[in-house]
C-alpha cells in the first residue's frame, strides 16, 4: 500500500467511526423531533392549560377530556411506593455490602442481585398480579384486584439492585482515611458507617436515588399488567390507577389510525414522560459528577 492510500484510508475509517458515535446524538434529536412534531399537532386541538391542569382523562371516550393530572397522579403514586421499598432496602444492603460483608459474600450476592435486575418486567407484572396482590388481599381485604400497591412493591424489588449497586459504588469511593479517622476517635463500625461514610457519599447516593425515580416513572409492563387501566386522581394505593406509560400501552394495543387525536395523545403523554425523566437523569449525572470531584 502506498503511503497516500494508507492515509486516505485512515481518514475514511476515522470519519465512519465518528459517524457511529455521532449517531447517538441523532437518536436524541430523533426522539425530540418525533415527540415535538406530534405534540404540536396535539396542542392545535387541545389547550395546553387543559392538558396540564385538567383533572379528567377520557381521551378514548366519546366525550373526550384531556386533563393529564390523573395519569401523573398514578405515576407518582406507584413510583412513590416503589421508592419506599427500594430506597431503604437498597441503602441498607449497600451499607452492608460495602462496609460489613466479606469479599466472598460480596462475590456471591452481587450476581444474584444482577439476576434480580435482569428479570423481564413482564414477568414482574405476572408476579405482581397473580402472587403479590392475592397475598396482600389476605390481610388487606379491601384491596382491589388491580391496584397501585402491589405493582409499586414489585417495582421496588425490581429497582433495588440499581439503588444498591450505585450506592455501593458511592460508599466504596469514600476514602478509607475518613473511616480510619473515625475509628481513631473511638467510633464503632455502625457509627462510622452511618455518621461518616454515608454523609460523605451523599451526593452519589442521591444520584442513585434520582436515577431510580426516573426508572420507576418510566417503568411500563408491571403497571400495564397489575395496576388496572382506570385513570383517577387519587392517592389511595388500594384502588386501580393508570400511569402515563400504561396509557401509552393501552392506546398502542388498540387500532388507532395515524393523525387521529388518540394517536397524537400518546406522543403528548410521551413528551411529558420524556421531559420528566430527562430532567431527572441530567440532575443525577450532575450530582454524580460532583461527588467524583470532591474526592479526587
Amino acid at each position: 500500500m502506498t503511503r497516500r492510500f494508507r492515509q486516505r484510508f485512515e481518514t475514511v475509517i476515522e470519519r465512519a467511526l465518528f459517524a457511529c458515535a455521532a449517531l447517538s446524538v441523532f437518536v436524541t434529536l430523533g426522539i425530540i423531533g418525533v415527540l415535538l412534531f406530534e405534540t404540536i399537532g396535539f396542542f392545535r386541538e387541545v389547550a395546553v392549560t387543559e392538558f396540564l391542569f385538567g383533572t379528567t382523562w377520557t381521551p378514548l371516550f366519546f366525550n373526550k377530556r384531556f386533563g393529564v393530572l390523573p395519569l401523573v397522579a398514578g405515576t407518582v403514586l406507584v413510583s412513590a411506593i416503589a421508592m419506599a421499598v427500594a430506597l431503604p432496602a437498597g441503602l441498607l444492603s449497600a451499607v452492608y455490602l460495602s462496609e460489613y460483608a466479606s469479599p466472598g459474600t460480596r462475590r456471591a450476592v452481587k450476581p444474584v442481585l444482577e439476576v434480580l435486575a435482569g428479570v423481564p418486567t413482564v414477568v414482574y407484572g405476572y408476579f405482581a398480579l397473580l402472587f403479590v396482590t392475592p397475598l396482600l388481599q389476605s390481610f388487606l381485604p379491601q384491596l382491589a384486584g388491580f391496584n397501585a400497591l402491589s405493582p409499586g412493591i414489585v417495582m421496588g424489588i425490581m429497582i433495588l439492585p440499581l439503588v444498591s449497586s450505585l450506592s455501593e459504588d458511592a460508599l466504596h469511593s469514600v476514602p478509607s482515611g475518613l473511616r480510619e479517622a473515625s475509628y481513631a476517635l473511638g467510633a464503632t463500625k455502625a457509627q462510622t458507617s452511618l455518621t461518616v461514610v454515608l454523609p460523605a457519599a451523599l451526593s452519589g447516593i442521591s444520584a442513585a436515588a434520582i436515577l431510580a425515580v426516573s426508572r420507576a416513572v418510566g417503568e411500563t409492563m408491571i403497571v400495564a399488567i397489575a395496576a388496572g387501566q382506570q385513570p383517577r386522581l387519587t392517592a389511595n394505593p388500594l384502588v386501580p390507577v393508570e400511569t402515563m406509560t400504561a396509557f401509552i400501552v393501552q392506546v398502542s394495543l388498540g387500532d388507532t389510525p395515524t393523525g387521529t387525536i388518540e394517536y397524537r395523545t400518546i406522543f403528548a403523554v410521551g413528551m411529558l414522560l420524556f421531559l420528566g425523566t430527562f430532567g431527572l437523569n441530567l440532575f443525577s449525572t450532575w450530582l454524580r459528577g460532583r461527588y467524583r470531584e470532591v474526592y479526587r
Binding site: E38, S93, G218, S252, G270
Partner: protein
Amino acid sequence: MEMPRSATRTRRLSDKALAFAGLFVLGLALLALAVLLVDVFLDGAGRVSWQFLVGYPSRRAADAGLLPALVGSLYLILLTIAIALPVGVGAAIYLEEYSTQGRVARFIELNISNLAAVPSIIYGLLGLGLFVRALAMGQSLLAGACTLALLLLPIVILSTREALRAVPVSLREGSYALGATRWQTIWNQVLPVAAPGILTGVILAVSRAIGETAPLITIGALTYVPFVPDSIWSPFTVLPIQIFNWVSRPQSAFLVNAAGGILVLLVLLLSLNAAAILLRDRYRSQRM
C-alpha cells in the same frame, strides 16, 4: 478515657443491629427472587411440552403454543444485533481510541449516558414515528429491530468501551513501533484481544432485548400472530408480548399458558447469561 461497660455493650449491639438489618434486607430480596421463580415454576411447569413449543396461538388455551413468538424473538434478536453491533462497536472505538477529550467528545458521552436512562417506551414512540410511519417500514420485524437496536446502542457502547480500556497500552505501542497505522493497530491487535469482553457485553444487551416488551407493543407488534415470520417485512410477535397477551385475558387457563411462556423465556435468558459468564471466565484465564 474509660467507658462504662454497659455503654460498650450498647455500642457493640448497635453495630450488630446494622449488620443484621443489611443481611436481613438482602435475604428478603433473594427470597423474593426465589418465591418468584418457584411460583412461576409451580404455575407453568405442567404446561410446557413439545406441543406448547411448536404450536400456534389459539383461542382455546389448551391448544395454544408459542412457536411464532419464539421464532419472532429469535429473528428479532439476530436482526437487532446485526444493526446494533457494528454501530455500537464503531462508536466505542471512536470514543476510546480516537477522540481527544474535547467538547464534542464530552457532549457525545453525556448524550450516551442520558440515552441509557431514557425509558424504553419512549424508544417505542420514536420507532413508531420514525421507522413505522416516516420511513414506512410498517409494523415489521425490521422496524422492531431498528427500534431495539437504538435502545441497545448505549449498552453496547458502554460495555465495548470497558473491554477496549482493558487492553494494555503496551500492545498498541508495540504495534505503532512496528510501523502500523492506527486502524491497523485497532483491527489486528486491539479488537482481537477485546473481542471476548465485547461479546460478553453483547450477550448482556441481548438478554435485555429478549425481555423488552413495551417499545415493541408501542410500534404495533401484533398480539395474535398465527404464522411464523418469513421476511424482514413480516408482521411479528415476541415471547414477552405473547406472555402479556395471555396474562391480560380473564380466563384462568390462559394464565397457565403465561406461566409456561415465562418459563421458556427465563430458560432462554439464563442460558444466555450463563454463556456470558463462561465467556468472561475463559477470557480471564486466557490472559493470566
